[in-house]
């Protein structure tokens, strides 16, 4: 089976928040719940980079480890999903998650949070595939329709990729090689790249990715 992963290319993300909007719209998540968010580091400074973050569907998921009711499960595709009928809304997954993925509909006094909600990789939940109940509880199940998560599908610069980890790694490796070939320097320097872009480099970037 494929191992499904998200990958966000910091060299391509332009912080348009299209993935956030796509996710909210597709999954109809309640107000205040953001399964995906874009974080910009060094905003307005040299070296500014943006990354789109959601549940990373960890192999050894901390949320799954600390859940007191064991409501998480890992699918054959390597997706970390959870059962909202089991979840008690204690918030432990939120304390443990390094990516801030678990979301709660409310934050009220006396520890009242409601059932946890997080990115499902557009794969629904434990209920029957494409059922109405699954749609209301977990949002879209695009994987059952043979489609990839909408956030990645909608990404205008193809910074956010979703799919089989091996395929993503291949795509990223090609991108890195091309960037290296065009600048011949540590990291990426677009200023130099534009100066050096000679005939030999033309078309290479487009042909490879």
């Amino acid at each position: 089976m494929a191992r499904m992963k998200f990958f966000c290319d910091a060299e391509r993300c332009i912080e348009c928040n299209g993935c956030v909007t796509a996710c909210k719209n597709e999954n109809d998540v309640p107000w205040g719940v953001n399964r995906r968010r874009v974080v910009t580091i060094k905003d307005g400074e040299p070296g500014e980079r943006s990354l789109s973050v959601a549940c990373m569907h960890c192999s050894d998921a901390p949320c799954e480890a600390v859940c007191p009711v064991d409501c998480f499960y890992t699918t054959d595709d390597g997706l970390v999903l959870h059962d909202k009928d089991i979840c008690i809304g204690c918030g432990y997954c939120f304390y443990a998650c390094p990516f801030g993925a678990p979301q709660f509909p409310t934050t009220n006094a006396f520890g009242s949070r409601g059932k946890m909600d997080k990115c499902t990789f557009c794969a629904g939940g434990p209920l029957e595939d494409l059922s109405a109940e699954e749609k209301t509880k977990y949002g879209s199940n695009r994987l059952a329709e043979g489609k990839l998560p909408l956030c990645a599908e909608m990404c205008a610069t193809k910074a956010l990729l979703a799919g089989d980890a091996d395929v993503l790694a291949d795509i990223y490796r090609k991108r890195v090689i091309n960037r290296g070939a065009s600048v011949m320097d540590w990291g990426v320097n677009y200023q130099k790249a534009s100066l050096r872009a000679g005939r030999s480099q033309k078309g290479k970037a487009s042909s490879n990715n």
Binding site: D9, A10, E11, N17, V20, N34, R37, V38, V39, T40, I41, D43, G47, R49, L51, V53, P62, A65, V66, C67, P68, V69, D70, C71, D83, D85, I86, C87, I88, G89, C90, G91, Y92, F94, Y95, A96, C97, P98, F99, G100, T107, N108, A109, F110, G111, S112, R113, V176, I177, R179, G180, A181, V183, M184, D185, W186, G187, V188
Partner: protein, 366 residues
């Protein structure tokens, strides 16, 4: 003639100047070569490293920044909320390790050990009877107000301890028994009860401290009581209204109880914008305090119930037998005797008092 002389002098000076220039330049060249030549291998290596296929991940610097443990990078995001700008929250892993690899196993080992030792102690030592049997004379030890505060705290604490430990250990113990759905309902009820009744514990703790603090300060004799183990190891069993072990329990309950209350409130009311880090730290203190307090509580319950005859009734009826008071809290007994607070003989003397003769050192705390 004069002209020729001048030419010769000119030639001599120019050749000398030239020689000097050659020497200077060759010296400079030599110096330059000694400095530059050893750098050639580095240059070669640099050129090799910069081979296009070996360019490091362009995001490497970014990720190195982001993952730095001591200096978490705060970003900007459109999503409003606490900590949404944190890209990678490293402390989550520390909290996971604490809860799953420290609190749960070592908490169970600690509480199980205390419980086991208590049972072992009972099996070896048996129940400590009232020395000299029951006198029939009764002394008021705890008035109604004090007893109510005590049992109020007991009720709240037991409810919170039970629900709390179900949330900690239920996944391992109760899911196999109740199934995931069944345990989910149990855990949900426990979580709600814990969160709703939790704040009452602060109220109970404050009442408890106010009620009992005045008799729980250090007095002369407490140290020797502690050293002799309250008569278990030696003869010195001098004690006031509360012995040193009871005082220790009072202060342990105060410190850990208040720690439980404060951290519990931080966890229970996540509405004032506290970060995950603060809540995780609160949970560490909360869990540790709960385990310590429960472990020590086993000892307290043991001496109040199975471990000693005549102690429990002080918290149920409020009265203790005069002989019990004289044996375990002699200084307090002298005080109340002088004030003439000893009550009339009770209607029915204790039946178990006959067997009490000849048992030594019955002086631990209740």
């Amino acid at each position: 003639m004069r002209q020729g002389d001048a030419i010769v002098v000119d030639a001599m000076t120019t050749s000398r100047q030239r020689r000097r220039r050659y020497m200077t330049w060759s010296l400079v060249l030599l110096l330059a070569l000694t400095l530059v030549l050893p750098l050639i291998p580095y240059a070669v290596e640099y050129a090799q490293v910069n081979d296009s296929s070996l360019v490091p991940n362009p995001g490497a610097d970014l990720w190195r920044d982001v993952r730095q443990r001591d200096n978490p990078v705060m970003g900007q995001t459109q999503v409003r909320g606490v900590d949404t700008g944190v890209l990678i929250y490293k402390s989550g892993e520390d909290w996971r390790i604490f809860r799953m690899q420290w609190l749960a196993p070592y908490g169970a080992i600690f509480m199980g050990t205390v419980l086991g030792l208590t049972i072992l102690f009972y099996l070896v030592r048996g129940r400590v009877p009232i020395p000299g049997g029951r006198s029939g004379k009764k002394i008021l030890r705890f008035n109604l107000n004090q007893r109510m505060v005590h049992w109020f705290t007991v009720g709240i604490f037991l409810l919170l301890a039970l629900t709390g430990f179900i949330l900690l250990y239920g996944r391992f113990v109760l899911i196999p028994l109740l199934g995931p759905e069944g345990f989910s309902i149990t855990a949900s009820a426990c979580k709600e009860a814990h969160n709703l009744f939790g704040p009452l514990f602060l109220f109970a703790m404050l009442l408890l401290i106010i009620t009992f603090v005045k008799d729980n300060f250090y007095e002369r004799g407490d140290l020797s009581w502690m050293i002799t183990g309250g008569g278990l190891l030696g003869e010195d069993t001098d004690a006031g209204r509360f012995n040193a072990a009871q005082k220790a329990w009072f202060w342990i309950a105060t410190v850990f109880g208040l720690a439980l209350c404060i951290t519990g409130l931080i966890l229970d009311f996540a509405v004032i914008g506290q970060s995950r880090e603060i809540m995780a730290i609160s949970h560490v203190i909360h869990g540790t305090s709960a385990v310590v307090m429960t472990g020590v509580l086993f000892g307290h319950i043991y001496w109040a119930t199975a471990g000693m005859e005549g102690g429990m009734e002080s918290m149920t009826t409020g009265y203790v037998d005069a002989n019990w008071a004289e044996a375990h809290h002699n200084r307090w007994y002298e005080e109340v005797k002088n004030e003439g607070e000893i009550e009339k003989p009770s209607e029915k003397p204790g039946p178990g008092s006959a067997s009490a003769i000849g048992v030594a050192s019955p002086h631990p705390g209740d």
